[in-house]
Structures are given as structure tokens and as C-alpha cells.
Symmetry: C2
Subunit: 257 residues, 2 copies
Amino acid sequence: MNFSIYLPPQAEGGDVKLPLVYYLSGLTCNEQNFITKSGFQRYAAEQGVIVVGPDTSPRGVKVPGDDESWDFGVSAGFYLDAVNEPWAENYRMGSYLNKELYELILQAFSNVVDPERIGIMGHSMGGHGALVSALRNPGLYKSVSAFAPICNPSACPWGVKAFTGYLGEDKSLWAEWDATELVKKYDAPPLTLLIDQGSSDKFYIEKQLLPENLVEACRSSGVPVILNLRDGYDHSYFYISTYIGEHLAFHSKILKA
Amino acid sequence: MNFSIYLPPQAEGGDVKLPLVYYLSGLTCNEQNFITKSGFQRYAAEQGVIVVGPDTSPRGVKVPGDDESWDFGVSAGFYLDAVNEPWAENYRMGSYLNKELYELILQAFSNVVDPERIGIMGHSMGGHGALVSALRNPGLYKSVSAFAPICNPSACPWGVKAFTGYLGEDKSLWAEWDATELVKKYDAPPLTLLIDQGSSDKFYIEKQLLPENLVEACRSSGVPVILNLRDGYDHSYFYISTYIGEHLAFHSKILKA
């Protein structure tokens, strides 16, 4: 598994522990898209924040059918732990992200990472991954934000396809990996969800993302949520590059508080 | 031929004529690399500058041998007019850029482009193209800058290969497409050359770029030149994205003066 890590200038010398933010990418991506297209480095350098970018699925293992579609299998791991065969052995991105990689980063970069100041963000499928990771693991991530996240995968075509394939037909299991469902029973340290959404995003218009469902669930259960609807923006990295500085400032403010 | 054009918010309505800057890309690129990787849009929007990105060679025509190497033929047109066969008919990027595309842009975007305020910049092979285009066509470009340009192609391996292939063995013809040679006889409207160079750029270290030759020629002939040597930077778009804002501000200041 590849991942990227960005160490800001403040990490040089290694005598100060810095905040760290994970960035989870969307469908079809690997860890490279964000580092070449988002322009996050300038803002991470300004804020003194370490940024880690995992891959989007297992790589280097062949599971039958893993390359038949762009929204399932390779580069479409959905940051969950599959239980359905033939995916259950390898497609465990939930555990990879929140246990294996999380602990590896703390160990390998123990001289510069502050383990008490870790946040998570993501885009589209990665926005889903960020929200679900934060909501399922209270306290592991102190801040969370998402660009155009898949907010209610149990209720959209992408999510239904992925959850059926990875998790099977049991809807109660789906709810454990669905941000809108998780918010309804969230009872843990206060956490503000920052959601960003372009109003001209075709996947938003086609009801793949459903931020309205997440916002409604947050309001009914008292979880703080900020929804920034960005007039005219689409689903692309041009959109992310426009607002990535705002998101890193949001994380930085919470993590340095 | 594809090209990109970025119209900043100030162009909406079409009642103000804006400055325009051409950006010429380097070897292996097409018009997409700059728009996805440099992050220029934020700065062009701030400055109110239109940005046009041409391709790097003819496309869609098959010339024998045009895809045998990455530094000659397709995506390596060197922004000159070939005279050697089999290149002379199609590989005329100099005329394409400074006549055909230049006039097309003025006509197609006549409502927003100010024809008196046009600048040019580029990276690597495109830095060479920007410098040569400005020096060969006095007054056509009011401002010029370059990231890690091939400053003296007659004296580096990339340039010798390209010039031999496109222009033949006559060195006096080479001098007409070599910024360092053109500077020595430049006698036209004052023009300050802004050259940016990363100190850890492997092509700089390997003497493909030779900014020192251009600076020496500028000094001996009284052409103003600024050389910014950037400690530790390489040849990549990460480097460009760091300083693209400075370059657009440089152009904007001259073009709005």
C-alpha cells in the first residue's frame, strides 16, 4: 500500500509536535491525485500541518471482478471492512485506515506528529470515509470535514452497489458505515461536521451525495454541522483547490485550540 | 490543435479589456498539465488576467519518427519553424504561436482581450519558447518570464538534438531560435527578462538549461534580467505552483502600467 505524507517546514528539526490531517480520495483516485491537483501544500505549510493521503483500495492483490467497474473494487474500497466474499479478506480499508496506517504513522513519525491532534477530511467517496471514520471512532479524529461527500450511501446508487457487494443484504450492517445513520446515534465527544458542496456538481444533482439527508439527521440529533453550498462549483479538483485552504484552516483552528 | 483559455471573473460582462498572458508548456506536456497542476487560476482571478495555454507540438499528423523519443517530435515542437524534412511542413510552432493562434485569440475574444497588453511565460522548453517569442517579435509581448527555461539550446543536449532535427546543421539558423544568441543582438523596446530557476533541478545541474549563459549575454548587451535562484526547488509543477503567483503579479504589474 502506498500513502503520501507532507511534512511542512515547521517539522524540520523535529523538536515540535504538529497536528496531522488525513485526506481520503474519491473513486478512481490513488494517493497521487490530491498531491498533484489540490495545491494543499501551500496552506499546510502556512498552518504547520502534516497531511497524509492513503490510497483508495487494496492494491497488488487480484480479487475476481475487482476491475470490472470504476465504482467498485480497485480504487473504490469505500473505507469499510467487507464481510461478503470474495472481498472480506482484502477489502478492509476501514481497519487499514483507522488502525494499521494510523498506528504506523504515529510510530514512524513519532518525532513530529502530535497524537492528540489528528483530523480527517476527504472528497466524495473519501468524504464518506472521513465522516464515517470520525463518527465510528470517537476521539480518534478531533476534526472532520468533507468535500462533496457521499453522505448517505445506503440511499444512493453508488452506495447501494458498494454496500451490497462488500457487506451483503443486511441493512443493519450498512448503517454502521453510513454517516447519516451514524449521526443519528452519535453520543460521544462534541464534533462539528464541515460539509462543502458545489451546487453544480452533477453527482449532487443526481442524488449520489445527499448532504440534505445528513444535515437533517444532524439537526434532529443535535450534532453540529456546517454546510457550505458553493454556487456553480462542480465535483472536480478545481473546486477542491479553491477551498482546500479554508478546510485546512478549519482543521488547524480546532487542532491548535 | 487544442489550447486552453482561462477567463477571470473580471471578463464577465465583456465591457472591460483585460491583459492576457500566454503560458508555454515543456517537454512531454500538452495544454492540460498547466491547468491541472499549477494552481494559476487563483492568481489569474486575483489579477484579472486572461491566460492561454497552447499545446507543445502539432497533433493529429503522422510524421515518420515523431514518437521515437520524448524530447523530439510529438510534444517537443520547441516553438520554432522547422526547415528540415520531414518536419518543415507541420512543425511550425513558431508561426502557429506568434501568428495563427495570436490572431485567432484576438479575433475570437476581441470583447475581453486588450491587444496592447499581452505577455508570455513558459516552463523549460516552454520557457525557451517564451523568451524566443518575445525576443524575435519586438512589441508583440510586453512582458516575459520563464520557469527553468532552456536558455541556450545551441549549447545543451536537448537543444542540439532538436535544432539538428528541425533546423539542420546551419548554426546561424540555430541562433535565430536561441534566447542567449537573440539577446546579444536585441535592439528593440525595453524588455525585462524574469528567469526563475530551482537550484536542485536535475536538468539545471546537468547543464540542459544554462541560465548563466543567458544572464551573461544580457549583462554584456544591456538587456535587463532578473534571475531568481530558488534554493532546493526541482523542475516539477510543485515548483511552478509555488511561484506562479509571483510570475502572474510580475506580468500584471507591467501590463497594467
